[in-house]
Amino acid sequence: MDLLNNIYTGFTIALTGQNLLCCALGVLFGQLIGVLPGIGAPTAIALLLPLTFSFNPTSAIIMFAGIYYGVAYGGTITSILINVPGESSSVMTCVDGYAMAHKGRAGAALSIAAIGSFIAGTISIVLLMSFAPALARLALQFGPAEYFGLAIMAFGLLTVFGSGSPFKIIITTIIGILISTVGMDGVSGMPRFTFGVPHLLGGVDFVVVICGIFGLAEVFNCIEEPEGGVLVKDKFKLSDVFLTWQEWVDSRWAIIRGGIIGFLIGLVPAGGITTASFLAYMAEKKASKHPETFGKGEIAGVAAPESANNAASISGFAPLLALGVPGSATTAVMLAGFMMWGIRPGPLLFTSNPDLVWGLIASMYIGNVILLLMNIFLIPLFVALLRIPYSIMMGFIIIFASIGAYSVNNSMWDVWMMMGFGLFGYALKKLKYPIVPFILAMVLGRLVEQSLRQALILSAGSFSVFFTRPIAAFFILIALLAYCTPLIRFALRKAGYGKVDINIESL
């Protein structure tokens, strides 16, 4: 009964004029961002975050959530039509989606992606509603030791799901935490790494960093590596989007499987929507009676990854809302938003801010319906967007990044800092250092230090607190195993089991 009451409360909040407008704007904006290669959900949210200082937090979070799952929808369009994934989560969609487009079934591919995302998104919302409160109840037993273990586990899992050198992942994680220590120490009040600069006493603002890393750095990366593709068809009629009966039959289980895989991967901190779409595609290929058709325009090869990435983007809210630990760059940016509005996500959020939580969850239903309709009726509009030259778009990204950084403290110091972090992010990407661990570490850095120090105070300085409390010990064990994964992979390769890589590109 409680659940039904909560859903009812959620809908009464999500259906207010202002929240409905924010939801519609969020999904529309997310869809546009997803279509445009070079701008991702974290970039969009990072650039908009400072402009929502005066917003009602519930409306702002509903809008940002809309952007997040809207991007997962939007990235599909470029994947199918020009073989360029608007988002890394749509990489797998390129494989069969573009092949379908070449067969003249682009409309059907776009349609199954939208329908699959809608159904899987709905599955994920229903599971999220049941799962998140239970997770929050469990998290009520968490003390500082458990939170420390949880954060360390999230960092450790990045080495499992990330690609590239694990040492580079560790380096960027450490630098992220290190930057979070700059400024006045929360316990002793002693300034750390400020070098006499008064602007640094308050620390390095997260918004400034993300405006640089996701705004300016992406501009430089896109200038250097322009993405392009050939539009297979530039005019669409409504009749193009209808599916044949056989296509329905071929994709129904792919949608369900993709939805469940996506939901489960989204729950894992650092799991990520790209990993979800990749695993769903591989699972579908394995389950298929005709795996040889994958890569040649198989509709299940579009339905599975698209369903999974949408489900994962929704279930990714569970660790954020229930534990206060973001699982991806986008949710990390949203956590910064929560902090900006003075809201602390975590187990108490469900009791202290039920309007926000249930309003957000209910808005996901509404957002998914809006996205389904938009994806069926507004495809020609999104196709037209592909013609905007990057030389124009680039200027607007710089404008948003600069104003976003400036508006934090109304100071040019932050704009220069944003520029410095932009160059840092550009260098990291160029040298193949992953960005996501840096962002997650920066946002979780204070939690790590605070919980570590609190746990040690409670245990009178004994580190045994991390191993005698079962939940904390479990998290730390997972983290240790995760950090050993590169060694396990290396051993498996040496033993002749080939390359054991889970992810392809997510970081």
């Binding site: 630098i175 002793s188 002693m190 250097e224 030389s391 040298l431």
Partner: protein, 149 residues
């Protein structure tokens, strides 16, 4: 590319070492009932230093030195960067709205083959939009230049 990775690895190693020294010298390792403000930075510095070593060694022993750090397009990045720096330095003259509009138009000239006329139109339209959208509607006190915007 490999030498850039070695330089980056050494830079991170030095950063780690510097963090250890600063934390050791300037920040107390312990406080009355808990680790002090220097505890975490010290250990972060140690881990950073240690993690940098395999990166440097891996790049040193790498036999495949393919992959270029700079491409022809990198020149465009440098031009855009110089444009941004110059405009930011001249913001006291242009003001924030006009300055950012100039970056947009400059980017159009540098990156695309847009005419001077269309760039001028973009400067005017963008400056007006920034001024009214961010300055007036959202109430962000954007720095004004000599022209009063």
């Amino acid at each position: 590319m490999w030498y850039a990775n070695i330089i980056a690895g050494v830079a991170f190693l030095l950063l780690g070492a510097a963090t250890v020294i600063l934390a050791w010298l300037d920040l107390p390792y312990t406080s009355d009932f808990s680790p002090g403000p220097g505890f975490l930075p010290l250990w972060l510095g140690i881990v950073l230093t240690i993690a940098s070593i395999p990166v440097i060694i891996t790049e040193f022993i790498k036999t495949d030195h393919s992959g270029r750090l700079f491409r022809p397009e990198t020149v465009k990045c440098v031009k855009v960067l110089i444009l941004i720096v110059v405009v930011f330095l001249l913001l006291p003259i242009f003001g924030f709205s006009t300055g950012l509009a100039l970056i947009t138009a400059g980017g159009m000239r540098l990156m695309g083959k847009h005419s001077w006329g269309s760039c001028a139109a973009v400067v005017i339209a963008t400056a007006i939009c920034i001024h009214y959208l961010f300055g007036q509607w959202l109430g962000i006190p954007l720095p004004k230049g000599m022209i009063g915007w």
